[in-house]
């Protein structure tokens, strides 16, 4: 791999044009004795990709789960002007959030087609968006999702949320365990999706972040320690080392 300049889609409006689609304010999460999130606040702009970064275990996944009510939380969460912090998960999802979990979590006993129809009974593997983005899945409509390879499962997991129109997508480490070629493909898919739907993306792969993210939010020790443009952060080697414990140069070298 070689370093490349940030490839942001020129058509996407700049973040300042519209108000945020999602606002998280003073979010706290406690698991038993441990206080995982200690007052996290940030906005997800109405366009483009916002990357949520941080070392392992700082609470990135927890933040996403807390937003959709899968983690015990307190604080304020506003989706398009509507407070959702007290709603149950299904209601939040239907209010317009799509969630792609960290570990894929496809339904192993169901076929690929059934996994998709769960979201929308009328759209299975023959849905146009599936054919366009994930041609490999189309032929596997009748295969049980549990027998798919890791990458194929990731495809199902992504395809699942794209069947429905949403205000914002929460995507947790979508390229984990994917072959390099697929990483590029997924990045492209996300970039394309981001043209119409804002994405809050958790990702360890900094080159990918640099390529598709507009803004970044960095978590550490349960709090937001940095907010800013993606390009600026990635360009600043000292800052990346300080915030993420790694230098961009090394990471970029293939």
């Amino acid at each position: 791999m070689t370093e490349q300049p940030t490839a942001r889609d020129p058509r996407s409006p700049s973040p300042s044009e519209v108000g945020p689609v999602l606002t998280v304010a003073d979010l706290h999460v406690r698991y038993g004795g441990s206080h995982v999130l200690q007052g996290v606040s940030f906005d997800v702009p109405a366009t483009g990709v916002t990357a949520l970064l941080g070392r392992n275990g700082v609470g990135k996944t927890t933040t996403l789960k807390a937003i959709i009510g899968l983690a015990p939380r307190s604080g304020r969460i506003v989706l398009r002007g509507k407070e959702i912090q007290d709603e149950p998960t299904p209601r939040i999802i239907r209010a317009g959030i799509g969630y792609v979990p960290e570990d894929r979590e496809v339904f192993g006993g169901l076929t690929v087609d059934e996994n998709l129809r769960l979201v929308d009974p009328d759209l299975g593997v023959d849905a146009p968006i599936v054919g366009r983005l994930f041609p490999d899945l189309v032929a596997r409509g009748k295969q049980r999702a549990g027998t798919l390879s890791g990458g194929q499962q990731q495809m199902v997991s992504l395809a699942r949320v794209l069947l429905r129109t949403t205000s914002v997508l929460l995507v947790d480490e979508p390229t984990k365990g994917l072959a390099p070629k697929l990483v590029t493909e997924v990045a492209d898919v996300l970039a394309e999706v981001a043209r119409t739907t804002p994405i809050l993306l958790v990702e360890q792969n900094l080159p990918l972040v640099r390529r598709i993210a507009d803004t970044v939010v960095v978590l550490d020790a349960g709090q937001v320690v940095h907010r800013g443009g993606a390009a600026e952060l990635v360009a600043d080697a000292d800052l990346t080392r300080e915030l993420l414990g790694v230098s961009m140069r090394r990471e970029g070298v293939a």
Partner: protein, 294 residues
């Protein structure tokens, strides 16, 4: 030949009863991973609901009419009990499978004891429509009419459940929810409601089984549900833990084996035939029965 026909038909009739008893157990286990020990209590509730209803309706109505009303009442009672048990007892313990089993064990003990306290331990006779008590002559065998009814109802329940699971959205959600509740919710589906529906369904199936079994036995008693439950368990295990088709096949097999062994085998074998069948299936095809980890 005559004897054989009689044994076969009553065997299948018995299998139908076993299937009815096992179906509710099987869907609740297969879909929610909850081994419902209170299923026997659900069956007992159905049989007592039926008995009380038939007693409360005006005696001028025909027995068959009263029985029909009793079936409706029992189904409703079973569904409501299943619903309450799910909402009050099972749901808060979600993810703790062993605890769920334990709660149902406690419930089974307490409710049978309660019934014993209220109505006494002795069996009470139930009224049976004239036609069901009669027989039909086929190939020289006097076939009890009620067995035909049981078989008919069992087939209807079987097909209904199968269709529900595979051809409805509810079925799809149920099958997905079995695997990963959280993710179903994260897709915007209210899975709680679905599981409550499953339990209500299981409760209704149990109540129906209980009521029909009391018709078959001619009496209701607190212990009845429990004795049928053992067979339901065995049927569910032989059927492959939660597979509806497997349950149906196993139920018929168990009914037939029991009747044939009781008639043809030496006294003593008939008794243990069902357990022997279980051990045999286990030794020959252990993988088909690999249960979900408790």
């Amino acid at each position: 030949m005559t004897d054989f026909v009689l044994i076969m038909v009553t065997g299948v009739g018995l299998g139908a009863l076993y299937f009815l008893a096992a179906s509710g157990l099987s869907i609740i286990y297969g879909l929610m991973g909850v081994l419902n020990f209170a299923h026997g209590a659900f069956m007992m509730a159905g049989s007592y609901a039926g008995w009380l209803t038939m007693g409360a309706l005006p005696g001028s109505w025909s027995v068959a009419t009263r029985l029909l009303v009793a079936v409706v009442v029992a189904l409703a009672v079973g569904a409501v009990i299943g619903l309450l048990v799910e909402v009050v007892l099972i749901r808060p313990l979600y993810r703790h499978h062993i605890q769920q089993v334990l709660v149902t064990v406690g419930l089974a003990l307490a409710s049978v004891a309660a019934a014993q306290g209220i109505w006494g331990a002795d069996p009470r006779t139930v009224e049976k429509p004239e036609w069901m008590g009669g027989t039909t002559l086929v190939l020289g065998a006097r076939l009890p009419n009620d067995r035909f009814l049981f078989i008919l109802v069992a087939v209807a329940v079987f097909l209904g459940l199968l269709a529900l699971l595979h051809y409805t959205r509810l079925g799809l959600i149920i099958r997905a929810g079995v695997e990963n509740r959280t993710m179903v919710e994260a897709l915007g589906i209210n899975v709680h409601r679905t599981f409550t529906v499953v339990f209500a369904l299981g409760g209704a199936a149990a109540a129906l089984a209980g009521l029909l079994y009391s018709q078959y036995a001619g009496t209701v008693s607190p212990a009845q549900g429990g004795s049928l439950l053992i067979y339901a368990f065995i049927v569910v295990v032989i059927g492959g833990m939660g597979s509806l088709v497997g349950t149906a096949v196993a139920a018929v097999a168990v009914g037939l084996v029991q009747q044939l062994a009781n008639f043809y085998a030496a006294s003593g074998v008939g008794d243990l035939s069902v357990v022997l069948l279980l051990a045999l299936v286990l030794l020959l095809r252990p993988t088909s029965l690999k249960g979900a980890p408790a």
